[in-house]
Each structure stands twice: as C-alpha cells, then as structure tokens.
C-alpha cells in the first residue's frame, strides 16, 4: 500500500510499509544475552588469567608441584643414600670414583644435577624431596587451620549469643600468645618430625581463620537471601552449606593462599634453628641450614634451597594478590 501525502509545505515522502513499523518493546531483543553468562568461578578465572603477575605465580607453583611429585623419579640417586666417595660435588658433576666405577661396569652415569652435600647425598633428589615436605606442610597446616577456623568461627558467628561470647573470649586470650614461641616450645616437647611441625603450627594458627570466618558469617547472616532461605524453611545446615559457604569461599581461598607462605616460612625457620625436620629426611629449611653452614666453601648448597624457598613464597604472594582481586565480588565485570 503506497500513498502520497501531498500538502502545503510538506515534502513529498513516500510512506512504505517499512517505515510504518511499530516501534516498541520487542521481547526477543530484550531477552537476548549480550555477555556470555559466567559463574562466579569462571569470572574469577578469566580475571586471574588476565593478570600476568598472578599467572606467573600460578605457573611457577604448578611447575614446582609437578617437579616435587616427579623429579625424584628422574634421577637414580636417592635423597637419603650417603656416598662417601662423592661428597660436596659442584652441580652437574660426578666424582672421579663414580666415573671410574661407571666406566668399569659400562653403565651410563647420571650427573648430580644440583651437586651433592657433605654426606654425598644427591642435592637434586634432596631439593625435590624437600619440596614435597615443605609444600605438604604448608598445604596441610593451612587446610587444617581453615577447617577448624570454619567450624569454630562458623558456630560463633551463626549461632551468636552465649556460644559466640565464650568462643570470642577464648580467642581473644589465645590470640595474644606468640605463635612462634609456642611452636618452638611444642617442638621441644614433641621432638622433630612432620606431624609435630603440623601440630605446633595448627595450635595457634587456626585462630585467625576463625576470626575471619566469624566476621564473614556475621555479615552474611543478616543478608536477604539468608532470610529468604530461612523463610522458605531451610534448615540451618542447608543455609550454611548452600548459602554461606559458597559466599565466603572466595575470601577463604585468598586467605589460604596468603597463609601458605607463612606456614612454609615457619617450617623453614623451625628447621633452620634445628628443631623442625631432622636428617636424613629433608625440607627446604633444613637444606638451607646445612647449606649455610658450608656457604664459605660451597655457596651453591645454600643458594639452591634459598632460591626455591624465595621463589615459592614470591609466587604464592603474587598469586594471592591476584586472587584477592579476582575473587572480590565487588570487582565483578570489571576487566
């Protein structure tokens, strides 16, 4: 249908059907999703990957963890076998005795990649065995702390009232006890070893995560969705597991990442002053201790473990900083 409006001062416009379309709300257009829908974790992952510093930290950590698992298998030497004929070798060397023995038997001789220590133990094997111990202790301590912290802090924050008051008074009192002093004391009494180390560090360490969880739970308790869930008849258990835990998990993970370097440092410190891990078992702290004793003659024995301790703590700190930004819901959608 085409008609022409002809009138005074009106330009000659041809009105077509196309021009006479209804302009208004179009449900199809409105329902179109412009941005791909992302869950909280996908969003955080994207943000983390866009942060080069945090990504670098993550990559280094993954490499160290893989090496801690597989590297000891890459060398024929054991971390605990003494060899009096291959003591204090520089990296990538073999002693004359070893070369002679290998030439005699016709076997291929594996190099000591990081050299050997004063007992002739292969430092490559010891370094990665130490990585296992140090990383395991760091992870174990922080995980146990977080679980205890969640239980205690959760109960205090969620149920409030007298339970909260009693728990908080206890925490106030315990919080003042210097952690490292108590850890030294416990280590002296329990003797050295991985289990004692973990117990000593958990003894006071759980308190800060309990405080963190309590604060978060207190805040969430008065949120609308918790009220809605309760109104709909959800049990306490369901509210805690379905609504509260996912909402504090971001902060918890950030906190754990930042706490692991502390645990690794404390382990190294206790081993360094001689009450953490005892030889022939090893950890990075113990390696640094034995290395420091010989650093005037064989500096590499100190520098190798020092390098790994520092880069691990650095990576965890960088990753933690990135995670804090990535997991902060207030920063959502900001790339």
């Amino acid at each position: 249908m085409t008609e022409t409006i002809a009138g005074k001062n009106t330009p000659n416009i041809e009105l077509t059907d196309e021009l006479l379309q209804r302009v208004g709300k179009n449900t199809e257009e409105m329902n179109k999703v412009v941005r791909p829908s992302l869950t909280y974790w996908q969003d955080a992952w994207i943000k983390l990957r866009k942060n080069p510093v945090a990504t670098l930290g993550l990559i280094i950590l993954v490499i160290y963890i893989l090496m801690a698992i597989f590297a000891p298998m890459l060398t024929p030497y054991s971390y605990r076998t003494n060899n009096s004929r291959a003591m204090n070798l520089e990296p990538m060397q073999n002693s004359e005795d070893e070369i002679a023995a290998a030439a005699e038997s016709g076997e291929k001789l594996a190099p000591h990649i990081f050299g050997t220590d004063q007992m002739g133990r292969d430092l490559w094997a010891r370094t990665w065995m130490g990585a296992r111990v140090s990383l395991f202790i760091g992870l174990a301590v922080v995980s146990i702390n977080t679980v205890i912290g969640c239980l205690v802090g959760g109960v205090a924050g969620y149920f409030g009232g007298r339970a909260d008051m009693i728990i908080m008074r206890i925490i106030d009192v315990l919080y003042g006890i210097p952690m490292i002093i108590l850890a030294i004391l416990l280590m002296v009494v329990m003797g050295s070893g991985i289990v004692s180390l973990i117990v000593a560090m958990v003894a006071i360490g759980w308190i800060s995560s309990a405080r963190l969880v309590r604060g978060q739970v207190l805040q969430l308790k008065s949120s609308e969705y918790v009220l809605a869930a309760k109104t709909l008849g959800a049990s306490d258990m369901r509210v805690i597991i379905r609504h509260m835990l996912p909402n504090i998990s971001g902060i918890l993970i950030t906190n754990m990442t930042m706490a692991i370097p502390n645990a690794i440092f404390n382990e190294a410190f206790l081993s360094y002053i001689g009450i953490g891990i005892a030889a022939p078992m090893c950890s990075w702290g113990l390696l640094a201790r034995t290395g420091a004793a010989l650093m005037e003659i064989y500096p590499y024995q100190l520098i190798i473990p020092a390098f790994f301790i520092c880069t691990t703590m650095l990576s965890l700190n960088m990753l933690g900083d990135g995670l804090r930004d990535a997991l902060d819901p207030k920063m959502r959608g900001k790339y």
Binding site: I177, P178, I273, A288
Partner: protein, 316 residues
C-alpha cells in the same frame, strides 16, 4: 577509653596465665622425667627442687611456679650448674634489645620513606622499585637474607665483619638482615594506606590553600596514613624478636636469641621454659602497649566502629 584499656589489660593477663600454664604443664608431659636424668647434677637437682617444690603435689608446684614468676624469678638451668635464667637474661638481653631496636628503627624510617615515595610517584619507576623491594622482602626469610648478605659482603667482598658485636661496622649486616622483612611490610602498608589518603578532599583543600608539597605530605598525608602501621607494630615486634634467634646465631652476637637456640639444642628444658616465659611476657606486654597506644592515637576508633556497623547493616 578507660574501659577499652581495662579490657585490653584483662585479656593480656589471661593470655599470660594461659601461656604460663601451658609452659608449666608441657614440661610435665615430657617423655620420662628430665629432672631425673643422670646428666643432671645433684646441685642442680637441689636448686630445681627448691624452685619447683618438687616434693609437693602438682597443683602446689604450679602455684609455687606462678609465685616465682611473679617475683621475677624464671628458674635455673637444668644442665649447667650455677646458671640461672635471670642471670642469663640480664647478660644477653641488652645485646638483643640493641640489635632489635636498631632493626626496628631502620625498618620504620626506611619503610616509611619508601612507602611515601612509592605512593607519591604511583605508577612511575620509583614506585615499581619500591614495590619490588617490598615483595622481595616479604618473600625472603631473614635467615636467607642474613646468609646471603654475609656471603657477599663478609666472605666474598670482605668489606664488613662476618660476626660479633664490637662496634658500628659489626652492626650493619645483622641489622639490615633483621630489618628487611619488617621494612618490606611497612613499605607495602604505607604505600597502600597513603594511596587512599592522597585522594581525600582535605588533601585537595590543603593544596588549594597554598601549602607546599612537603607540608602537605608531612602534615596531612603521613599523619593520616600512619595508623595502619601502628596496628601492626605488635606483630612486627614479634617478627623482629623471632628474627634475632636466627640472626644472632648466624652472626655470633652474644644475645638472648642465640642463647635461646643453643638451649633448645642442648635440650636444657628449664632454661627454654624460663626464657619462653620471659619472651611471652615481653611480647604480650608489647602488644598491650601497642593496643593502648592505638586507642590513644586514633580518635576515630569509636567513629570507625560505629561506621563499620552501619556499613554492615547496609550491605546486609
């Protein structure tokens, strides 16, 4: 304010009581009886019996021990005849205090300067250098810094002494090693807290009314951003004190930390317990002082608390 101080004091007293109770009962948990060890000489045994009242029931021993601590008597050595915890502390503590105060002072001065500089020049090269120093410092345990400094400056370059405590040149390496972590932490904190202050309206006002750059930084920015540093002074003192264990052993400084580590190695239980009690009392008191100082320094404590509550309410 008095209520706040009173509350802090009561908590500190209970903390000490718990710590001392743990210390007392831990030694009873030791496998075997360290006091009956053949190594322990008769004379030492007699002194231990007098100190703990070992013929009396446990609970009386506990109160005797508490009473001794109240009198300022920390006990005697299990292994060395005639050596008491008190005399050891009196001999060694001055060195540790000297070292610790120097390290803390250096960390505060340099940390504040670096943090301020980084915040002023945010995003420029100086900022990146300061942030780098901070992140390396936080990631490097003091025993590694100490060992590396010793290796480079004392052993390879031979410009500074590798140990002992005989004058200013002897103090440089240990003080720098001990202060590094603290310095890094202060730099980091100062930078972030000052970055928040820098964009406040009152800074703009100060600049608008014609104050010089220096005056704006000194009178307005530093004073307003220094509070977070006060809050971490307690843990920082603890970190420096723990650091003295390692640094004093490494640099052969005759301080309390070195002696503590040696006692731990010798399994001189009563010595370790006595010195631990002393360290505990020292740190708890330091924390208490910091808490009270914080309450006095920050007039906004009350305001901040009520604001926090309002914020929580809004979000909830």
């Amino acid at each position: 304010m008095p209520k706040y101080i009173l509350k802090r004091c009561i908590i500190a007293v209970f903390t000490l009581l718990v710590l001392i109770t743990i210390i007392f009962f831990l030694v009873r948990l030791l496998p075997g009886d360290p006091f009956n060890d053949p190594k322990v000489t008769d004379e030492v045994r007699a002194r231990l019996e007098a100190y703990y009242g070992m013929d009396k029931p446990l609970i009386q021993q506990y109160f005797a021990y508490l009473g001794n601590l109240l009198k300022g008597d920390f006990g005697v050595s299990l292994i060395y005849t005639g050596r008491s915890v008190n005399s050891t502390i009196a001999q060694t503590f001055p060195y540790s205090a000297d070292l610790g105060l120097r390290a803390l002072g250096l960390a505060l001065v340099v940390g504040l300067i670096l943090g301020t500089l980084a915040a002023q020049k945010a995003g420029r090269v100086i900022d990146y250098v300061c942030v780098l120093v901070a992140i390396i410092g936080v990631s490097m345990p003091d025993f590694i810094i100490g060992a590396l400094l010793k290796l480079i400056f004392a052993i390879k370059l031979r410009v500074l002494p590798a140990g002992l405590w005989n004058g200013f040149s002897y103090t440089i390496l240990p003080v720098v090693a001990l202060s590094f972590y603290t310095l890094a932490l202060i730099t980091r904190l100062m930078r972030s807290s000052m970055l928040e202050v820098i964009h406040q309206d009152y800074i703009l006002t100060a600049k608008a009314k014609g104050l010089s750059n220096f005056q704006v930084i000194w009178r307005h920015q530093i004073r307003n951003s220094i509070l977070p540093i006060v809050t971490v002074m307690g843990p920082l003192v603890a970190a420096v004190l723990t650091g003295t264990f390692v640094i004093e052993s490494m640099y052969a400084i005759p301080g309390m930390g070195k002696f503590y580590v040696e006692s731990v190695h010798d399994l001189d239980y009563t010595m370790v317990l006595g010195m631990t009690a002393f360290y505990g009392i020292f740190l708890v008191s330091a924390n208490l002082v910091v808490d009270i100082l914080y309450g006095i320094v920050d007039p906004r404590i009350k305001l901040a608390e009520s604001k926090q509550k309002a914020d929580d309410g809004e979000e909830g």
